[in-house]
């Protein structure tokens, strides 16, 4: 991997923040965009802006082709079987809500169980809480071992014919640890449950193969994987999606409408009512191209290396604690930490003065952060363009900030 060349592809890395070179370590929140993706948006709006799927004129045909080409790129990126299994949404939150509102309302009933883990982002907690409230079903959490990892044996003893849905994050956005999703899906296969993977932190950073995982659904957001904001993906197995009722009703999702009734369009259009986010979908396709070109194995190895580097730096520091330190699972390039005295917001504001962007707060995972006895933490998360030199800057500046508040 040629880091120097990669860094040149990201115009924003030349930005100065408060007079310093930007050190962007908030990638788990959103990634930066390479020129190729930015250019694809401009190209669409400047040269072939047009609506998709209904025009017969040249620009509409071109827009439709590019929009559908992007879908194929995404399908290939996660190794799905069919383009029809790739539904474009606004983001992973919307993807998860679609499952809750359509598959969930049709298949989850009173006293049924839905399982998630204590590591979930709010977007993979709240839709299930609401579904369970509406259906009088139970939301259950897969228990943890002493090291803070999921306890598969205990989980096995909790599931049965009432288990209807299991939704788990592939990689914790707070701890940066991978979850044993394949094992969990394997266990789930002994029940009637469908499996949902929140892949927001995995698809952008490592090779993900939906056929190998054998999950029923997989959700992720484009903006965390070098793509534009406002475009996300719901992958679902064809037969399951095909059985599901639509979520939003309107144009493009119908095949025939009379004054009295309507017939639903085929997949994936059944779930894409109204004019879709054409430009950003096309941009996401280019983001896939960019990542594929580097190779997801290379992306992942780079992030493990930088993640381990951050982790080892923290181990040598007094007063800091890394969240999930004891986990036995593999970890990527996300490290959350707390200081025994200095509040995360003071740390975040301090680092910002040096151009270092990290995230502070509860990281949209309030229950998990609280389980560490704190209400907020600081998080550094890396991507393909981050270097060890940047981590050195981050740590040195962090120590300066600590000194300031000591």
């Amino acid at each position: 991997m040629d880091l120097e060349r990669i860094r040149k592809d990201f115009p924003i890395l030349k930005t100065k923040v408060n007079g310093n070179d930007l050190v962007y370590l908030d990638n788990a929140a959103t990634s930066q965009k390479p020129k190729l993706v930015i250019d694809s948006l401009v190209d669409y709006y400047e040269n072939y802006n047009s609506n998709v799927h209904r025009g017969v004129h040249t620009l509409s045909v071109k827009a439709t082709n590019e929009y559908e080409k992007s879908r194929s790129k995404v399908r290939e990126f996660i190794n799905a079987d069919k383009d029809e299994e790739i539904i474009y949404t606004r983001n992973a939150s919307e993807s998860l809500n679609i499952i809750a509102y359509t598959w969930g309302s049709r298949n989850v009933n009173k006293d049924d169980d839905i399982f998630i883990t204590p590591f979930e982002h709010h977007s993979n907690i709240v839709p299930w809480q609401e579904l369970c409230k509406n259906k009088k079903a139970n939301l259950k959490y897969i228990p943890l071992t002493e090291s803070g990892d999921v306890d598969l044996d205990k989980f096995k003893s909790m599931i049965g014919t009432k288990t209807k849905l299991i939704s788990i994050t592939h990689m914790s956005n707070v701890l940066g640890t991978l979850l044993p999703v394949k094992e969990i899906i394997n266990i789930a296969n002994s029940t009637p449950a469908v499996t949902v993977i929140d892949a927001c932190q995995s698809v952008p950073h490592m090779p993900v193969d939906v056929k190998d995982l054998d999950c029923d659904f997989l959700c992720f957001s484009g903006h965390k994987m070098l793509g534009p904001t406002g475009i996300g993906v719901l992958y679902g197995k064809f037969d399951i999606l095909n059985e599901m009722p639509p979520f939003l009703f309107g144009g493009d999702m119908i095949s025939e409408v009379t004054y009295e009734d309507a017939k639903w369009n085929d997949l994936p259009y059944k779930f894409e009512a109204g004019t879709p986010n054409i430009a950003d979908a096309i941009g996401l396709g280019f983001a896939c191209d960019y990542l594929k070109n580097i190779g997801m194995e290379n992306v992942w190895n780079h992030e493990i290396e930088i993640g381990e580097y951050i982790f080892s730096k923290f181990k040598s520091l007094d007063n800091f604690e890394v969240l999930g330190e004891k986990s036995k699972e593999k970890r990527g390039g996300v490290v959350s930490f707390s200081h025994n005295k200095v509040h995360p917001h003071d740390i975040g504001s301090g680092l910002d003065q040096f151009g270092v962007a990290i995230r502070t707060g509860h990281h949209c995972a309030m229950p998990l952060v609280r389980s560490y006895g704190i209400v907020a933490a600081s998080r550094a998360s890396v991507y393909i363009y981050n270097t060890k030199e940047e981590i050195d800057i981050f740590i040195n500046r962090l120590l300066e900030v600590e000194e300031y508040f000591k």
Binding site: H343, H345, D346, S349, G350, Q353, G361, H362, I374, Y404
Partner: protein, 147 residues
């Protein structure tokens, strides 16, 4: 970080001092009024206790809590600013502090009324932190508005 002037404007020496050595942080006894303010997004907490005398003066005040340097020092500074003041004065100070952080024009008299809490003025350059600075003032408003 002395070369960073904006940052030092926010974290003035007096702020760091009040953060490390909060004033009026002893819990009250007797007949006091009490409230808690909480920012769920960062977990900052302020606990405020007040004793208002019969002639409507802040006779005793206690501010405790946990959170960032801005929220905690602001609470401590607030206690200094309003101690011994009348209800009417406190209401006025509360408005003036908010106006100051919104960067509104204030008369010299209004600025003077703010007292030591003028130290949090630099926070106005950091809009995301204004909520931290106002946490204790929100608690104060809640209690004082009853009088």
């Amino acid at each position: 970080m002395s070369e960073l002037s904006d940052f030092d404007d926010m974290y003035q020496e007096v702020i760091i001092d009040h953060y490390k050595n909060p004033r009026n942080s002893k819990k009250l006894s007797g007949n006091y009024d009490e409230t808690k303010a909480h920012n769920p997004f960062c977990g900052d907490e302020i606990e405020l206790q007040l004793i208002i005398s019969e002639d409507r003066i802040v006779e005793k005040i206690s501010v405790t809590g946990r959170g960032c340097a801005i929220s905690q020092s602001s609470g401590s500074l607030m206690s200094d600013s309003v101690y011994g003041k009348s209800i009417e004065e406190v209401k006025n100070i509360n408005l003036n502090v908010r106006a100051m952080l919104k960067d509104e024009e204030l008369s010299d008299e209004d600025l003077d009324s703010i007292g030591d809490s003028y130290a949090i003025e630099g926070v106005k350059k950091f809009p995301v932190r204004i909520k931290c600075a106002l946490l204790s003032w929100a608690a104060l408003k809640e209690l004082i508005d009853k009088y």
